[in-house]
Assembly symmetry: C3
């Protein structure tokens, strides 16, 4: 036998304890989310994002033993739009805490939907089958349709060209582990992050949700640059949100002259249109030779096409692998909050020592 | 966060305790079903249906704590014909009692069957993989083929244009919760139910099984009317069964003049032909303006097309949502019986008080 | 109810205790496999195969109670090439010992791969989702691609026209139960087995792996005959391996004059070419009237086409059903070894009595 794995993790992997060291964590805020459906980033406050990320960090750093936190719950993963990664990430998060899974893995083509069944009827049935439904759908308005009769909480795992709020949680969990001061302090101007988005928020749900969540941290963002091949990459609502945010932002078709100044780069190239997808903005390519700042980090919700070259995988710019890993933990944290399993660990955790993390539940 | 669900259950939801209040439940009858395959409603007696429904009612009303009743069992859900609702209902029932699931969710197209594997070989393999198989198949004779080498029990979850016996259990569980006297008494003529079926029992497996189970309760059925677009909606066997039942029945092409007299209306519009399905009898439409008796109830195995309008969902005629919910509990009860896990709760339960249900296992 | 199953097991079913009676089993050898990916039969020594088969025999004979041996582990079954039997066999093996399953059951068509996601990215994600991945893929080089970033062990469940090493373990587990002296002794010439392969090892992964494992037992093999419709059924590497083995072997296009002398016949007829398969060598048919030696046994990895007639199922030549059943137990044994759960049962088991098996862990 000679196949023992010797692969090393590629990219950077910030210590999740960065987020919880010397922090008092007040979980009572998560009471707001109990029994709630999570549809849009608009539902989140900065404090809620921070608290969920801290719970995720406790789980990732193994500071909390919560192996059966979801015991007794059945989670329905209803992927009417197929996905490898996202479904497995949600299912792994559930199973790690002893929830059970029932799944529609194969898209709508093979289901009762194909016989003409309405989403509102399927939603009514879900009430009987499980305790929470994770929904991905090709249609943006599927959430509203299935929600018509739903009495169990729903987590939006991507609806057409709409939103993908747990992806945004995973994105910002990675960023906050990398630079916890964004969450905890008002940074001096020189340390605020220069944020670039290569992609079209108005057409790409992950980018849309990322941008909405970015605005929760606008106090520590110097500037937002959106590089897109579209004339209007935002649409009215995002345009308004950005304009009201009171920070510098601009849209451009050209990443030259921009990319070398960015601290955080968010990329994507897959846009959804009805039940198909198309590559967009994939002409904005980054590779090991791109003129990046020395400590710039790249985020990408994956899957990637050619826009993010594998030559960057081994670099210190690669935060996208850690971002994907952390997604499991933020989803665990979200399940715990929505299914009201946080109070079992106490409302408040005081983290007392700096060097050797110690939890004190009070 | 502002998405707390405020949806209410639509339709009527009879109390499952209706079925078990003041009842002595003798579970020893379920010994007959231990290790059995459940293929056709023909296998059931009225007493067996009643006992399974009472066990389901104990589970639904949470009068029995049986969270690990199926622990140690692996249930195979083999859906060679795709289905959302039915597979999830069977899987939820299994998981709620700690059985484990292995599943063929995607239809025959993607499986070894596509390589020409025979169903009898697959059946032989199932013996090694699990303790019970739930089979749905596009072909009516698939049950016989897979059963050739099977030594574990099989539950028929729909075979082509054949039968769907657990759907009939769910149908009658809903009816018996709604009017328990059908099970427990011989009703005076004026209280017997006038039963209408909008659909073709000979071509629709759910309707076929429903009608066969209806005949177990013929003493309390005043009349059966079958409204179908077919010249012969029954076929020889069902014709003979109905003729021998000794109650009035008729087939008609026209629901006018009929529907206003019915107490219980069973609808469906999807018929299976080989590996495809087609809409049939969908010209018989019910909606909020239909001339229904004030306390008439409607059953539908769902998925529905246009024949059952959503305007009825909020009405007191809607028993179809409760019917779908109850399906999980009758399937739990059936698993427990077939897998010999009922005797663990004692042979007999005496329900002693009327107002406050109390269980006494003796 | 009249459907109690009366089917009997068809074919022969050697007692798994044959393999462990009077044997001292030294599990410490399995330490070599901890954390390893299992890609090719080339990784196995004869001793390793023997030890895994003895562990499987302990499990099959229920001499070890190990119902939670894999508790806390998540196993990913990634079947980018669809399969009924193999996936369910791997999943049943996992669930029987309390591992959890996340699954890609539906082939690559519906996954992120369809969006152009690279296998190396998927491998990186798998690190975050589970503890072991079972991979089947239409492409032979998929193992290498997904392994690029993988840090959890992988079990190859069939890669294109490459290998299928756990199938070979199941094959030889059946043979060794049937004739344990092959493992434990050097047999006299007259008792060595005359082995025939109907199929093309160079194009059929199961046959390829079977042949490679056969060479581990060459001391007790009299002769190997490969009956194939191809001019070169082996390819360079297998040709070299056979030539170096130092035992008589030959390739022929004609099974007449050969089949009547064989003790063990291995058949298959499905060859994989890219993402499709084709029937090959299916003109070599065996049936109840074939001129087999009285105690010859037939193995077949199934699914079968016409080459292995059902008329043989009830005969004493049928070891293929037992072979399929045993596959679950060798996969359990392999999981336990790779996931380092063997040492929990002690390094060494002394089996002390002949007639009544007794385990003594020392």
């Amino acid at each position: 036998m000679k196949s023992r794995t010797t692969n090393k993790f590629k990219g950077i992997k910030p210590d999740p304890e960065n987020l919880i060291r010397n922090a008092n964590i007040d979980f009572s805020l998560l009471g707001e989310i109990v029994g709630q459906s999570v549809v849009s980033v608009n539902q989140f406050s900065r404090e809620m994002v921070g608290t969920l990320c801290k719970l995720a960090a406790l789980l990732e750093s193994k500071k909390l033993e919560l192996a059966d936190a979801l015991k007794g719950n059945i989670i329905i993963t209803a992927f009417f739009e197929p996905s490898t990664r996202t479904r497995l990430s949600f299912e792994s998060a559930a199973l790690r805490q002893e929830a059970k899974i029932i799944s529609i893995p194969e898209g709508a083509r093979n289901t009762g939907v194909a016989k003409g069944e309405s989403l509102s009827d399927i939603g009514e049935m879900f009430n009987a089958y499980g305790d929470l439904v994770v929904l991905r759908h090709t249609e943006t308005d599927a959430i509203a349709a299935i929600g018509e009769n739903l009495r169990i909480p729903l987590v939006n795992a991507g609806n057409g060209s709409g939103e993908h709020p747990t992806q945004a949680l995973a994105d910002w969990y990675a960023i906050l582990k990398w630079k916890p001061t964004i969450l905890n302090e008002e940074l001096p101007e020189s340390e605020k992050i220069n944020l670039g988005i290569l992609g079209s928020p108005g057409s790409m749900r992950a980018v849309n949700s990322f941008l909405r969540m970015a605005l929760l941290f606008k106090d520590n963002i110097q500037k937002i640059t959106i590089v897109s091949e579209l004339a209007d990459p935002l649409g009215d609502e995002l345009n308004k949100l950005l304009s009201e945010a009171g920070i510098p932002w601009l849209c451009t078709h050209d990443m030259e002259g921009t990319v070398e100044e960015l601290d955080v780069i968010y990329m994507n190239s897959i846009a959804f249109l009805g039940d198909s997808y198309k590559a967009m903005d994939s002409n904005f390519k980054l590779h090991a030779g791109s003129p990046l700042k020395e400590d710039a980090i790249i985020l990408h919700p994956l899957a990637r096409l050619g826009e993010l070259d594998h030559s960057l995988d081994d670099s210190r710019h690669n935060l996208y692998f850690d971002q994907a890993h952390g997604a499991v933990f933020v989803r665990q944290a979200l399940y715990m909050a929505v299914l009201d399993r946080v109070k079992d660990i106490g409302d408040r955790i005081n983290v007392v020592k700096e060097n050797e993390l110690e939890l004190q539940t009070v």
